[in-house]
């Protein structure tokens, strides 16, 4: 990972007062992978605390928040690297969620609710993990088809294109009765998604996103984001790189959708609309669009605030009188908060930077991954 000469150069630098010198291979690896390692530890702590001390509602909220976090990491893979804002990713979440329902609902329910499925799907039931991955793959496949058209556009045109994609998928699923039960609720998904499953998926996805962003492919996508003409001149296939990041992010978001289905046990097309699109985008923007740390931090911050405001809306008993925010206070509160953050930190809480090994030689860690690309 990091060559010995680098460590040697490191040692010559003036040392900080409190320094943990990354020496052995383990620490060097940790240092090179610090952003996802850090966030994995943070998420682990949050999960442990909430599972240990939180109420049942809190635990449900946590799972919901982790699902959103996974979606935001998926969004980051595309938006952060290609620089194109996408309004369409919740469509992939919906595709993933319904694909999971097709696979894991028990055959009886399927025959009753979604008789349009092919016979093989109707009579068989697939394991949870398989269904999550397959659902992700289906979302990725749809992304490949839609993306090969959409990714030829640039800037705002591409963003509006993804929005159109969401609307098309939404309307399609809403009227596709034999497969999705249309506007009615699809029930009967086994509930598998708990905090630990979500934690595992979030950790895997964070590492995956980090590896992608540091790879030659991620680097090329970022180059095309910064300067399309120059990246073409350097031989970067701009459309191809964008498409790759689109497909990878759709895979992640599709898996998140499947997990979402297995969390609630019920699905409605309605839940994959604009509100979810905007809350996940808000998380990414508040955290900082161009870094993994930003995506994760934004998701944590907004989820926490959302929950805190919800508690306020329910109200507290102060000396016999109930003090509470008026209904809708949550949305208003989040709106105001977003404004404040964006006014004072235009590039999000992390200013689009990763949070690197804080102790020493952070700049070395930053490029430890890229030097292999």
């Amino acid at each position: 990972m990091v060559s010995t000469t680098e460590a040697g150069r490191d040692r010559k630098r003036p040392s900080f007062k409190y320094s943990i010198e990354a020496k052995g291979p383990i620490l060097l690896t940790v240092r090179a992978w610090w952003p996802p390692v850090l966030w994995s530890i943070v998420l682990l702590l949050i999960v442990v605390i909430v599972m240990g001390a939180g109420s049942l509602t809190m635990q449900k909220t946590l799972i919901d928040a982790l699902i959103k976090l996974m979606v935001v990491v998926g969004l980051y893979v595309f938006i952060g690297n290609s620089g194109i804002l996408s309004f369409g990713h919740i469509g992939f979440m919906m595709i993933g969620a319904y694909a999971a329902a097709w696979q894991t609902c028990c055959p009886k329910t399927k025959k009753l609710f979604i008789p349009g499925l092919p016979d093989y799907m109707l009579t068989h039931q697939f394991p949870f993990i398989v269904s999550v991955v397959v659902s992700g793959l289906l979302a990725a496949f749809i992304a490949l088809i839609a993306g090969s058209v959409l990714m030829r556009l640039s800037g705002i045109a591409a963003s509006i294109g993804t929005f159109a994609f969401l609307m098309v998928m939404y309307s399609f699923y809403l009227r596709w009765d034999p497969w999705t039960r249309g506007a009615s609720t699809m029930t009967g998904l086994p509930v598998h998604t708990d905090s630990w499953v979500m934690l595992a998926f979030c950790v895997i996805v964070m590492f995956g996103a980090f590896v992608y962003a540091r790879s030659r492919y991620g680097l090329s996508a970022k180059a095309s984001r910064d300067d399309e003409v120059a990246s073409k001149a350097a031989g970067v296939n701009v459309v191809g790189q964008r498409l790759l990041s689109f497909v990878v992010s759709a895979f992640i978001v599709g898996m998140a959708g499947a997990l979402f289905g297995h969390f609630l046990g019920i699905l409605t097309v309605d839940s994959f609309g604009l509100p979810l699109t905007f809350i996940t985008l808000a998380m990414l923007v508040v955290g900082g669009m161009q870094s993994l740390s930003g995506a994760v931090l934004g998701a944590i911050v907004i989820s926490t605030l959302f929950e805190a405001l919800r508690q306020l809306e329910v109200g507290f008993d102060v000396g016999g009188t109930l003090v509470a925010l008026p209904g809708g206070g949550r949305e208003v509160g989040i709106g105001i908060l977003m404004l404040v953050i964006l006014i004072f930190r235009r590039n999000g809480l992390t200013a689009n930077q990763e949070i690197y090994w804080p102790f020493r030689g952070d700049a070395m860690a930053k490029t430890a991954m890229t030097r292999r690309s």
């Binding site: 680097l219 910064d226 031989g235 970067v236 490029t367």
Partner: protein, 250 residues
């Protein structure tokens, strides 16, 4: 010397306006060729057509033996024409090393990449010093070096550079040209440079083309044109006027 690039009678339109008319440019292997001309002469248009960003309405561009007229820019870059676009296009969000790595993006020969990479860092010590610094924070001259370095890492057969002197202090421009001449002398790199200053072009180039109003006015060996009189006439166009004013003045 064999002809590496042959631009044959191209005409390029921006919608209905012809920016370049019947322009032919030849570049032989190992040559430094400069295209000079005033603003709006069609110099950049010619380069953009070579690199595939624009398509000519008439005429052909041949590289080696391949016809690359209207090929898409990535493919032209992959064939070995490296482009340094006008105005120092660095990737500001990436650091210096990552910027250079983008140049090796389309190569597969890992060992050679490392060799070239170290060579570029040796050639531009300033970049080696700032390897981890964000490319957006480099000075104009350093950015120009970075872009040239990145273009070099694609191992081009031909490098096209659009106005390397744009917005740089004369001293830095001297350094840029020093580097470019050095590249040709040491590595036999072929260069096609677009330049506004005829003086600089005459100093650096083997051959020059003077372009005005979308047409070639003059072409020839830099040695033969060294006194600059012919070039000036071709450059400004109003030959009679210049002489006349001159006579009155003196």
């Amino acid at each position: 010397m064999t002809t590496l690039l042959k631009v044959d009678n191209i005409t390029v339109h921006y919608s209905r306006l012809a920016a370049v008319r019947n322009v032919s440019v030849d570049v032989s292997e190992g040559e430094i060729v400069c295209i000079v001309g005033p603003n709006g002469a069609g110099k950049s248009t010619t380069l953009l057509t070579i690199s595939g960003i624009l398509s000519p309405t008439e005429g052909t561009v041949t590289f080696g033996t391949k016809n690359i007229t209207g090929a898409n820019p990535e493919n032209v870059a992959r064939m070995g024409i490296s482009q340094v676009p006008e105005g120092r296009h660095v990737f500001t969000a990436l650091n210096v090393e990552e910027n250079l790595r983008i140049g090796t993006r389309m190569r597969r020969d890992r060992g050679e990449i490392e060799k070239d990479f170290n060579m570029v860092l040796e050639m531009f010590p300033v970049l080696a010093e700032r390897k981890r610094q964000s490319a957006g924070k480099l000075s104009g001259g350093e950015q120009q070096m970075l872009v040239i370095g990145r273009a070099l890492l694609t191992r081009p057969k031909l490098m096209t550079i659009d106005e390397p002197s744009l917005g740089l202090a004369p001293k830095i421009v001297d350094r840029v040209y020093e580097v470019l001449t050095d590249l040709r002398n040491r590595m036999g790199l072929t260069l096609l440079i677009v330049e506004q200053s005829s003086e600089r072009a005459l100093k650096a180039a083997d051959r020059i083309y003077v372009l005005r109003s979308g047409q070639i006015q003059l072409s020839g060996n830099a040695k033969d044109l060294r006194d600059g009189e012919k070039v000036k006439q071709a450059y400004f166009g109003f030959t009679e006027g210049v002489k006349h004013v001159g006579e009155v003045a003196f």
